[in-house]
């Protein structure tokens, strides 16, 4: 029993070690030539541009719901005029980045895990290597770079559509004008709120791409393994994003004390 537990622990530790090496290699190779601009752009389109509708629609819905909740709370104190500012602050600092990260870990994580897993079991990754192409650079590094670039941009879309959702809810409730809504919202939000919390999603992008690529790249056991890789990619990257977020928020408060205010 003890021996079994010890063997499992060793296996898990060894997998963590392998992942660390994999992620380190991806981070290093992203800065070293030869680059794969064509494939990186293709991935940016597949992972970034094609995720935009999901993010925009989700942001809109989140904005409406947040606005309704905020209204219910602030009405008690007669502070309804603070709704745009409260919503903007919540979205830009935390809700936008985290929700975008989690949504994309689902869409992108599952996609990368399944695609690379299928490529592994159908020998397409071996075929790339046999064609004298560095499969790691071509498949993994391009996805990592694309995700790191796409996440902050998609988070910005999420923030914006969330604000728009909030406006729609406010307009329906009070008939507030667009100009007044955004004036009140942006009165309190400044660059030290937006920049650090949006840039932290680059870390989310890195985590989603490396975890999913690692699981896809190391898939075995045929189609069953592909399904497992896809599911694990979503679960693990979501957990890692949530945990990393705690560390990153603490780090942001340390580096930008004004962001904590």
């Amino acid at each position: 029993m003890l021996e079994q537990a010890s063997t499992r622990a060793t296996t898990h530790l060894s997998t963590v070690g392998e992942f660390a090496v994999f992620a380190g290699k991806a981070a290093r190779q992203a800065f070293l030539p030869p680059y794969e601009p064509r494939e990186t752009l293709r991935q940016l389109y597949e992972l970034g541009v094609r995720s935009a509708p999901l993010i925009a629609v989700s942001g809109l819905a989140v904005g409406v719901v947040l606005s309704m909740h905020t209204r219910a709370s602030l009405e008690r104190f007669g502070a309804e005029s603070m709704i745009p500012a409260g919503l903007a602050m919540a979205l830009v600092r935390e809700t936008g980045p985290l929700t975008a990260g989690l949504l994309l870990s689902g869409r992108i994580g599952a996609g990368i895990g399944a695609e690379l897993g299928a490529m592994r079991v159908t020998e397409q990754i071996d075929a790339l290597e046999a064609s004298a192409v560095d499969a790691f650079r071509y498949l993994v590094v391009t996805r990592v770079v694309a995700c790191v670039i796409a996440l902050p941009l998609l988070t910005t879309i999420m923030n914006f559509s969330g604000m728009l959702g909030g406006f729609i809810a406010e307009r329906a409730a009070t008939g507030m004008s667009l100009g007044l809504y955004f004036q009140r919202a942006f009165d309190v939000v400044n660059m030290s709120d937006y920049v650090p919390s949006t840039l932290k999603t680059m870390v989310f992008g890195f985590l989603i791409a490396t975890v999913s690529s690692f699981l896809g790249f190391t898939t075995s056991s045929g189609t069953e393994g592909v399904g497992r890789a896809s599911t694990r990619a979503v679960v693990l990257s979501s957990i890692l994003i949530i945990v990393a977020n705690v560390v990153l928020v603490r780090l942001i408060f340390f580096l930008y004390p004004e962001a904590a205010g």
């Binding site: 020998e123 071996d126 075929a127 790339l128 290597e129 046999a130 004298a132």
Partner: protein
């Protein structure tokens, strides 16, 4: 084009996976321009031996030479240069399923040559014509039958006109007629373009047709090596039994 070195040499190659020894000090030599067939029952390490030749698998001990270059420890650009001289036809074809058949064949050309789009298109068309898929340039791999996928895989493996072609189970999953057609294509490459063939199979009619030299692996070891006739006269009962199964197949 002739080289003083054999096209491929495996020197006492040993390989284990998860404690299971798949190859045990396997030594073999493939002369330039030869049709070399690796025979054996399923799970005897034939495909693993083939993958060593292109560096997809590294030996635990022993060395692998391609045209005299020791590729055992090669990495990066140096390994890529060797791989450009070697084509690999995978058992399932292993076509990239996100791009068309024509783009699959064009892929190595786009990566490793400075040809223009028009020149690539022309060469790809000629490769597809040669495997009987001339009208399938724009089809997606998912729309092809097993035999067509293998033909397309062969066209891609030959995209850079490699000096060596590695073929993993050319007849697997194919009907006898399609299997024979693939064999004819491979034979044509050997005879017309002097391509060295290294073929893994357990299909004896195919081995007879393609093999100038044969090696039989059993439990990770080379148990017999020679021509078809020599293997038929082998002292090893398993080898004789294997070769005689040809008459049925």
């Amino acid at each position: 084009m002739t080289s003083p070195h054999p096209a491929v040499r495996l020197d006492a190659v040993t390989k284990s996976f998860g404690g299971r020894r798949v190859l045990n000090r396997v030594t073999l030599e493939v002369p330039e321009g030869c049709g070399f067939v690796i025979l054996g029952r399923s799970g005897t390490g034939k495909s693993v031996a083939l993958r060593h030749i292109i560096g997809l698998v590294r030996p635990d001990t022993g060395s692998v030479f391609v045209h005299g270059t020791d590729i055992t420890e090669l990495e990066g650009t140096a390994l890529a240069e060797v791989r450009k001289q070697v084509g690999f036809l995978f058992q399932s074809g292993a076509l990239f399923d996100s791009i068309s058949v024509g783009e699959n064949v064009a892929f190595p050309m786009r990566r490793h040559t400075r040809l223009t789009d028009a020149e690539i298109r022309q060469r790809v068309q000629s490769k597809l014509d040669s495997v009987g898929l001339g009208s399938d340039y724009d089809k997606m791999p998912g729309d092809l039958s097993g035999g067509m996928r293998k033909r397309a895989g062969l066209a891609r493996a030959m995209a850079l006109d490699p000096r060596i072609l590695l073929v993993d189970e050319p007849s697997a999953g194919l009907d006898p007629i399609t299997s024979e057609e693939i064999d004819e294509l491979l034979l044509g490459l050997k005879q017309n373009q002097k391509t060295t063939l290294v073929v893994v199979t357990h299909n004896i009619p195919s081995a007879r047709k393609l093999g100038d030299q044969l090696v039989m692996l059993d439990q990770g070891q080379s148990v017999a090596q020679g021509t078809v006739e020599e293997l038929e006269r082998s002292d090893n009962e398993l080898v004789r039994a294997f070769m005689s199964s040809s008459h049925a197949g």
